[in-house]
Amino acid sequence: MLLVLVKNEVNKILSRRKMLLITVIMLILVSLFAYGQNYQYKNTLNKYLKTTTESGDVAWQELQKQQIQDLKNRLNRPDISESSKVSINIQIQQNQYYLDNNINPINPSAAKFSVKLMEQSISVLLPLLIILLAGDSVCGEFSAKTIKVLLTRAVPRWKVLLSKYIALLILFSIVILEMAALSILISGLLFNNWGFYEPVATGFNSVSGTLDVSNVIKVTELQYLILVYSLGWFVSIVVGTISFMVSVLVRNTATSIGIMMATLVGGGFLRLFLADWPAIKYFFAINLNLPQYLTGSYTPISGMSLIFSTLVLLTWGIGAFIVSFVVFTKQDVLV
């Protein structure tokens, strides 16, 4: 019974062509990013080696050494702030680790690009796509005045809502899958280098300004790709659940999407302006960038870790889920 409802909801979303819209957005952005990445790589090569080789055979160790040297130079500049000093130091140590362990972080490959794409889009772009999907889930029924039809059927209200929620979960997973597939395909064809079995180091831990490499393990790019995309998947579910709650609370699609976008973008500003205020680390939009904990990049707010962020996001997700169901089953529907 529930499965039939879910199927119905999935079909409803698909018939609105939103998946198509999301696919087109992703297609355009991924192509642009991949082109940009390729261009940037060629530029880096030109800058450091003053030669471009046709084959993928590039002396990346040389490049890496030069980059470390450049970072050291930057460290010596007098106008540099303490916090960027810390982050540059971490970068230097990380580059040195790659060099010492013979891991090539420079040559572009499909796997590396896809990981980078998710790392970059996890805090804004991916949530936006998710909001696009989830934002009108319930309030769309109000706008279209179809909510009466939905609720007069002999199905308990919670089942109606649950079927909508499960339908969204299914589509979130498919969005993540689609993103991975698109970026791997496009970048793979462009770079002509898949690189799934290249080693990559993860588990860096930046502790008070220095990089703790004691926990670093080497995995293949493919494994790392799955790690990063699963973080993206988790973030999508949390953002989707919150967006779902908002769509239950308000009666208008535009308001629902607007509220979510404002929180999301506002979260980025909070991070900039209120980095010293410890309470902001409990805000969900601050915790979206989960892959940063795997790469060990410097986090400006202390006391944040993958476990911490996961717990915060989980709490927000569960809270939003409960609120949605309580409100939806109790509210009066007057249409």
Binding site: N11, Q69, N73, N76, S173, S214, L227, Y229, L306
Partner: protein, 261 residues
Amino acid sequence: MFKNLKWKLILLLFIVSTITLITGFAAALSISSRPPKEISNTETEKPKSEELDQNYYNILVLGDSLAKGTGDEKGLGFSGYFSDYWKTKTSKEIKINNLAINGDVSSGLLSVVQEPQTLADIKGSSIIFISIGGNEISRLKNMDITSSTTKIKDIEDTYLTNLKSIFNIIRTNNPSSMVIFIGLYNPFGKELTSDKVSILNGWNYQSEQLVSLDSNALFIPTYDLFKYNTQSYLAADDFHPNSTGYEAISNRIVEALKNYK
């Protein structure tokens, strides 16, 4: 029929991706939550250093921004112009390793040459360029000499001890390479009062004395080269040489090494 197939495909994709992603998420959590191991484990591991490829004619550049080539619009630096000429002297392809750091002083260079990778580079290089001391003495311009003569003496003494240690390290690792030390010039022109100019010249003299103790090293003076040429040899920052200035330094090195090897 078609709709049913699509639905089944969607369900299948959902189930497969969910299982994969849950596993991945669990793995990510477990990776980042492992307690840090004993730090001593990693510290005992010495970073590996790589030996230079002897199929190349290796040139090593050490020191400050002057060695780096800062100010050169063409980005070559004196080592770049020099290697352009030196191509004719060797059958091998020339490779420049530039380890210079902008703004570095002698103590910084000392710690650079103690790094294992630098030591490996020293071992494999046929020519080693050093330019250092400019950042120590550039403070001179705004110093009140009468009250701080002792301070300048202190700076000079530490500089000379550092330079001595740097030469020692180079020679214990590579007794045969040509070491070329670039002297200091006065970028400030007439702004530098004559008593300060004499300190600069004294500094250069001390460096030259030290370099001349080594049988296979060369001191390249630049003070005279820049004295009446600051207008055309200095970059827009009025401190670093521009490409013409670097080329002039390089020409002087080339001249000195005309009959070397």
